[in-house]
Symmetry: C2
Subunit: 293 residues, 2 copies
């Protein structure tokens, strides 16, 4: 059983990008600049955004963190986004989700300039992805593709089962792995809450991407020998043996499933760090595009 080590691979990618940035600097070019908008003070959101900013610093990107109060109006947030849309110094930016209730999340995502939408959530970028046109791929599925590719996991003609049909993971990864591309050309099945005979389906899978948001949902008896497991879930599970009272768990019961798997991502340290690396890669792409056009 081989661990698909997201920490290791994401560090490789960050090193590659850092090298690229050095070359940019030596040529006197502008370095990529990522901005992040954080609304309110949700603990998990703050952790994610800070990790992104820190990653920028490490590889030599400029970064700007814009912290806005919890009670900001939708109009004020849209104005802020419009500033970033037109600010030529900002190559790409993200709005950390979730947003407070008074704000229409979809409206916000649609207001982002698609050319700066490094999260790849804008409908026109999602459409380009679906049509297999060049675009910013959403960071989590993009990270999964990159992880599989770097470990040379064969996907062509393989049966892939995606657990979950969310807009940010399940749906896009199911589309990407079914397309003609590296880590693609797979026979992909999407299962969800309405699916029946789940075990029967997962037992036929050569590769399973678990993105269903239920901790330790997938157990050893639901998979076949030598299955490849990509675990996207991350939830806090109460654990009295830990000093903070919880441990982090994925959508996969690691202990039982890892015994049968040929490859498996750990949680944490699997898909999570890959997501940040691919956000950086998208930001680099945004900068390169600005330079070209």
């Amino acid at each position: 059983m081989i661990i698909l080590d997201g920490n290791k691979v994401s560090n490789e990618i960050k090193d590659e990008i850092a090298e690229h940035v050095k070359v940019m600097i030596s040529k006197g070019e502008k370095v990529p600049h990522l901005a992040a908008i954080l609304v309110g003070s949700d603990g998990a959101s703050m952790t994610y955004v800070n990790a992104k900013v820190k990653a920028c610093q490490r590889i030599g990107f400029n970064s700007t963190l814009i912290e806005l109060p919890e009670y900001i109006s939708e109009k004020e947030l849209l104005d802020k986004i419009n500033d970033l849309n037109t600010n030529q110094d900002i190559d790409g930016f993200i709005v950390q989700l979730p947003l407070p209730k008074q704000i229409d999340e979809q409206k916000v995502l649609m207001s982002i300039n698609p050319d700066k939408d490094v999260d790849g959530f804008h409908p026109s970028n999602v459409g380009k992805m679906t049509l297999d046109l060049p675009t910013f791929l959403p960071a989590t599925p993009y990270g999964i593709m990159e992880l599989l590719e770097r470990y040379q996991v064969e996907t062509s003609g393989k049966n892939v089962v995606v657990l979950g049909r969310s807009h940010i993971v399940g749906r896009p990864i199911s589309i990407l792995m079914s397309q003609k591309r590296k880590a693609g050309d797979a026979t992909v099945t999407v299962v969800h809450s309405r699916s029946k005979n789940l075990s029967e389906i997962t037992k036929k899978a050569d590769i399973i991407v678990a993105a269903i948001g239920i901790s330790e949902f997938l157990t050893g008896d639901m998979v076949k020998d030598d299955v490849v497991i990509v675990d996207v879930g991350i939830t806090r599970v109460p654990d009295a043996t830990k000093s903070n009272g919880y441990r982090l768990a994925g959508d996969v019961e690691f202990e039982s499933v890892s015994k049968k798997a040929s490859y498996i991502t750990p949680v944490p340290g699997g898909v999570g760090p890959m997501t940040i690396a691919m956000l950086l890669k998208n930001t680099l792409l945004a900068r390169e595009r600005q330079r070209v056009f």
Copy 2:
């Protein structure tokens, strides 16, 4: 075995739209106006476009057919599209595909005003479809959904196998049937040229959508009893017994498959007429939206 009669259902839909148009006229409202651009004189394209124009006339829409010469430049075509984009009398328009070689098809599709893109091929509309936001659904998959819904074919939790991953049929129908919607909530698998053990997969399917473009590809031995069959293919097959020397065949071998099927679309008279009906429905929607916004 029940025939999914696309002619009958599409006529019902056209009658419903015609009723709607009558009400519009009685209120003194502008009726929907569809324009179609046909480049060159490909026989099949002319047949399709003429059928669309004729359908408009039947239900009381205004229609405009713009015929352009085979050797037109990309620039001239884009100028023509721009005219239609800004012409307030035109609610929606289509560019009949395929286009001659000197023209970049993707560039053309992306130049269409998404608000008038009644074929639903523009990336921003494809993205909205993928994200389950209101938009113009591409006419063929939309027609399949409507046909299944009107025959009350149960799809929730069913195993659907889509043969083919094209941008205009396979990909969108696989997304739509997997979403929470009428004729949706299915467990969808997309198979394609790189898929292995095809029969094993198709034999597990409760519903098969065949859109692979190979005549009579799916045979009776590849399906289980009571399967529901939607046949999107339409090709000319040489047939010496016919006066014109050919017959029309789908991607499904009708004779052997229909013996096992619970529901099946014929070719012709299945999905084809539904496609035109849904194009009209999209045009009506485009008109309604113009009125609202």
